[in-house]
Amino acid sequence: MSRKTADAVIVGGGIIGAAVGYHLAKAGFKVTLLEKKFPCAGSTGRCIGGIRAQFSHELTIKVMLLSIKLFQNFKEEVGDDIEWYAGGYLFLAFDEERKRSFLKAIEIQRQCGLDVAFVSADECARIVPGLNTEGLIGGAWCPTDGQANPFKVTFGYLKRMRDLGSKVYTETEVVGININKGRVVSVVTNRGDEFFAPVVLNAAGPWASEVGRMAGVSVPVTPDRHEALVTEAVERCLDPMLVDYRSDGCYFLQHYGTGHIIGCYTPVPLVPGYRLDSSDEFITEMPRRMIRLLPKLSSVKVLRQWAGSYEMSPDGNPICGRTSIEGYFVAAGMSGHGFMFGPAIGKLMAEMITTGKSTIDLSEFRLDRSFTKSEAMR
């Protein structure tokens, strides 16, 4: 058993661990990041790369406005081309109730400074040529939302982190966390190593409750299985992420760099648990839903289907901040939006850890809240 030290230990090599790790390293911390498989092995490598500030909760919108700025500047700041593209997000409304809920969210979004509007069905068809407008009332449209490549963002952060003198251990699982007198002391890995650090961050995504339990902290994050598919690369035919919230709806976008079309839907009922098998239901249902919205896709071929976990918190908002254990922080439960939150959460959590305070107050996302304010644009 070897004993090592660090200024901070991060558990989890997804977007959240990588982003916090990079920002801590930039602030001069010697960080050790421990990942039980390989970077992006969890939810981050299974997500479809959508990025938007269209939410209904003010703090989420503010966090996302910061995140989008960081995605835009990624190449200058961190060094890699992450295939950021502002193709926008178009949320479709097929009934009055949905329209009302979008209008309500748009009011809050505009107060936060977001360029967003409710547009007519004809306008939707202009934004997405070939869109089937049958039954469509209109849509919530924000042209500054976009997409990026989750692998490139995560690997980009990790690479810079290493360049700044921090360490990333793959195939290394955290199996225990030692606490003394209410303070975090060290973490123990399956390889028998012990890492001593005054700061430990739980960034274990869908496994955050397990990693919480190791420190005696209850983190209410539960996984739901979400499936996705990707088609072959085709010529540019779709600019924004298209979101259809009907119970038999779906959402998809065309990857800007490569031309692949990638998408998913939220199953009814939900599929709780860690299972990540692919279902026949999804691979037949999803194509029908995609073609219904965009008939011109019917001859495009599907390359692959897979599944991943949404890491749900009880109210669908992130869990970020301190815990009852001194030095033990959590940034998890991103509830299916962790990729887009990543850059901002990385910056803000690093500020909280290094200075005790973040430039955007995240206290509404703290662990010991009541979890009653639900997000309307999940």
């Binding site: 498989k37 390989f38 970077p39 992006c40 092995a41 490598g45 692998f151 490139k152 690997f155 690479k159 793959t170 990707v230 088609t231 072959e232 690369a233 085709v234 010529e235 540019r236 035919c237 490569t258 031309g259 692919s278 026949d280 239901e281 691979i283 037949t284 249902e285 194509p287 029908r288 995609m290 073609i291 011109k296 896709l297 019917s298 001859s299 495009v300 071929k301 599907v302 390359l303 692959r304 289907q305 897979w306």
Partner: protein, 108 residues
């Protein structure tokens, strides 16, 4: 719908003189070699960083070559490597064709 992007991509690449390892995504031997040298030592990571094995054949053509290159450059025996899962469908199928199939759940 045509496959415009792929031709564009190949021309953009600098490594035109190198042997192609992944024909579907047009990833050259030089690119794989460079990525392994940059510390990406598993087929899973190389897939994610290069898109190798993510194309039409889902890695059937290239993964063995990739494994041999990792063994050669990074010195990790092939038997110790973790390979990406093969995902359905086995061959690319049109959305329309998949959508025609009505899935009946076991309990209905």
């Amino acid at each position: 719908m045509g496959h415009g992007n792929r031709t564009k991509r190949a021309v953009k690449k600098s490594a035109l003189n190198s042997v192609i390892v992944c024909r579907c995504e047009e990833i050259s031997e030089d690119e794989v070699r460079q990525a392994i040298k940059n510390g990406y030592h598993s087929p899973e990571e190389l897939k994610r960083i290069l898109r190798i094995g993510m194309g039409h054949c889902s890695g059937r053509g290239c993964m063995r070559v990739v494994a041999r290159m990792i063994e050669e450059i990074a010195g990790i025996p092939i038997a110790k490597l973790q390979f990406p899962k093969s995902r359905p469908p086995v061959k690319p199928i049109k959305l329309q064709l998949l959508g025609q199939y009505r899935y009946e759940s076991e309990n209905s």
